[in-house]
């Protein structure tokens, strides 16, 4: 990879990865990551997130298709020559070397820098990461957060065009995780380095990234900014995977402008009906609605009757588990509200908040919502 190639965009072209046991881990993956973007890859365990990252890093062979950094294919390029740096889940710090050696090793082996230059770069990076006092410690003597910083520092010091991070925060406890999250985010904004960040924590994905890649079973589900993924999931999988507690789903059929399920009927506006009726069948639909979009104890038309089953007190909010003729439905209510179990209640929700999926799981309202939520994309730096 010649140094003149400074554009650090990453292009995946029909990438395929088959492990030696004929297991297809990534299939037909296409995506283009712009220079400077912070991209998060989410998906359930085993969906191929690490595989994707490791192919970019050169730790796994690419079975089919191609990956390009800038305009040049990475095939045949040695890992250390790809201009990438990686942060591992368990940091992969060399336990027997000091922080200083951990950070300088790669430089010493792959660059022609003098000892002084290396030392200076290590020191600058350590200062940036706030670990200058730990330079002579061994990793085992550092706290989790400090280890994380060293791992990140080791990546930064090599001045890569692309950062690859595989669940870099998952070994930290909850509080530290939040802290390091913002730290990493700031850092990336300062450095402007293209970053691919793997996580299975949807929280991290929503918080940190310019755009999110949602993977499932090796296939790309959606590649969009966080709000879009949250508000306009491309399909049922994304809708279910993103959001906590998860979206409620109900099997429904469309009769005229009414969605009919086993336990309730719900009127929808004709604008939505128009969109839907372009599909083959209207009898095998799924209605999705997020717990926070449901109004508890509503009155008026178009409400649904439900019975309180369990009340989960969670401090700031309570979650009410409702039973709608056999289907379960979760509703988020404010912390003060604590109904008695067995109580009957009316709920309602705004048709603008509903999601509708066909039998194949596609979001039938995706186009509609897109226009209905014009503020997407917001402040992502796609154009950088």
């Amino acid at each position: 990879m010649s140094k003149t190639n400074t554009t650090a965009s990453v292009t995946f072209e029909n990438v395929r990865k088959v492990y030696s046991d004929d297991f297809v881990a990534i299939d037909g993956f296409d995506a283009t990551i712009e220079d400077g973007e912070f991209i998060t890859v989410v998906g359930p365990s085993g969906s191929g997130k690490s595989t994707l990252l490791r192919m970019v890093a050169g730790l796994e062979e690419i079975t089919g298709g191609d990956v390009r950094i800038g305009s040049e294919s990475i095939k045949g390029v040695e890992p250390q020559d790809r201009g990438i740096a990686m942060v591992f889940q368990n940091y992969a710090l060399y336990p027997h070397m000091t922080v200083r050696k951990n950070m300088s090793y790669g430089l010493r082996l792959t660059t022609a820098l003098s000892e002084e230059e290396i030392d200076q770069r290590v020191r600058e990076t350590a200062e940036m990461m706030g670990i200058e006092d730990q330079l002579d410690d061994k990793p085992a003597n550092l706290s989790g957060g400090q280890q994380q910083r060293v791992a990140t520092g080791r990546a930064i010091v090599r001045d890569p065009k692309i950062f690859l991070m595989d669940e870099p925060l998952s070994n930290l406890d909850a509080k530290l995780k939040v802290h390091m999250r913002t730290e990493l985010q700031r850092l990336q904004e300062d450095l402007g380095t293209t970053t691919i960040y793997v996580t299975h924590d949807q929280h991290e994905a929503l918080t940190m990234s310019d755009r999110i890649i949602v993977l499932n079973e090796g296939e790309l589900q959606q590649f969009a900014p966080p709000e879009e993924v949250y508000n306009t999931p491309a399909n049922r999988f994304v809708a279910d995977f993103i959001g906590s507690p998860a979206m409620n789903f109900f099997d429904v059929e469309l009769h005229g402008t009414t969605l009919v399920s086993d336990g309730f009927e719900y009127e929808i506006p004709s604008s939505i009906v128009d969109t839907i009726t372009t599909v083959d069948t209207t009898s095998d639909l799924e209605l999705g609605i997020r717990p926070e979009d449901i109004t508890y104890d509503a009155s008026g038309d178009n409400t649904i009757t439900a019975v309180v089953e369990v009340v989960e007190v969670a401090g700031s909010d309570n979650f009410i588990h409702l039973d709608i003729e056999g289907s379960e439905c979760r509703v988020r209510v404010s912390g003060g509200l604590k109904p008695t179990v067995g109580e009957e209640v009316q709920i309602a929700f705004d048709p603008a908040d509903i999601h509708l999926f066909n039998a194949a799981g596609e979001n039938l309202l995706a186009g509609l919502s897109d226009t209905a939520v014009p503020e997407v994309p917001t402040e992502s730096e796609e154009a950088a």
Partner: protein, 302 residues
């Protein structure tokens, strides 16, 4: 950097793949080479040579004059009363040593695992014979069993090692003292690996100490126990140094074990081909014993 030439073969995915695979193969082969060479020369080569010898009337001083005799050595062996005597002695030795070593080491391991004071001291004492060479063990116990030695003085029986009844038990006692250590350490570690919570659960379930032993400890330690049983069997079957030093097979060949017999036919009798046949028979017995043990002790798992 300097990869411009490799950039060009964008379509050469197969090429790229095989190149890096080949590199890993070469690295793998290079790292294994020393071991493979050495093992081939000093372990497997000789094994084949031994088999070849066992099919010959081997003339060691002039190998070229050795005669191929097929399985005759094996046939002779089967009708050789000395072989059967040695085999019988070996089984007797196994019988005398294996149960005490296993039960003894298990009891000591369980005992030391308890919350006793001086755990470290006890472990050190029980483990220490492990570092002794068989020469020292043999000579030491020979002195102890001697007619004027400590053991006959307190327990009677004259010189144990010259009595046909007591010679083998004497060797067995020395062996037990010496070999307990290894099993003891393994079983102690195994016992310490059994999670305490299982005992807590059993306690709440109302299990007595004996029941915990039977229902938790033993089943939980099964794999190490199987290992220890097999290793003890294999070692006892190959006993050599102790009778060699302590009794030289006597009195009247009552402590001549199979390996001692092999050694004597090879180096005293100079019947190398025959000795190789004895070796191979021993090898088969060891495999059979290990397989049987494994089958009976570990067989019903999964």
């Amino acid at each position: 950097m300097a990869q411009s030439t490799q950039q060009t073969d964008a379509d050469g995915s197969g090429l790229d793949r095989s190149k890096s695979m080949t590199r890993e193969w070469i690295a793998g082969a290079t790292f294994s080479l020393p071991y493979i060479l050495i093992a081939g020369t000093f372990l497997f080569g000789p094994l084949v040579l031994a088999l070849y010898m066992s099919l010959h009337d081997w003339n060691a001083l002039a190998p070229a004059q050795s005669q191929f005799i097929g399985f005759e050595n094996y046939q002779i062996l089967l009708s050789d009363p000395d072989f059967w005597n040695a085999l019988w002695n070996t089984f007797y030795f196994v019988f005398l040593t294996v149960p005490p070593i296993i039960i003894g080491s298990l009891l000591l391991a369980l005992g030391v695992n308890r919350d006793v004071k001086g755990k470290w001291l006890l472990r050190t004492i029980f483990f220490s014979p492990y570092v002794l060479t068989v020469a020292v063990v043999g000579l030491l116990w020979t002195e102890l069993f001697n007619a004027s030695g400590l053991i006959p003085y307190h327990l009677g029986g004259g010189n144990w090692l010259t009595s046909p009844e007591l010679a083998m038990p004497g060797i067995a006692v020395a062996t037990i003292w010496w070999q307990l250590a290894f099993n003891f350490i393994i079983l102690l570690a195994a016992r310490q690996n059994v999670p305490d919570r299982l005992y807590e659960a059993a306690k709440l379930d109302g299990a007595s100490t004996g029941q915990m032993m039977r229902h938790i400890t033993i089943p939980q330690m099964r794999n190490p126990l199987v290992f220890v049983v097999i290793v003890t069997f294999v070692n006892s079957f190959q006993v050599f140094g102790q009778p060699f030093i302590m009794t030289d097979g006597g009195p009247t060949f009552s402590t001549t074990t199979i390996v001692l017999y092999l050694y004597e036919t090879a180096f005293t009798g100079r019947e190398f081909g025959y000795a190789a046949a004895v070796g191979y028979v021993l090898f088969m017995i060891l495999i059979a014993i290990s397989a049987t043990n494994y089958y009976f002790l570990a067989g019903d798992d999964q």
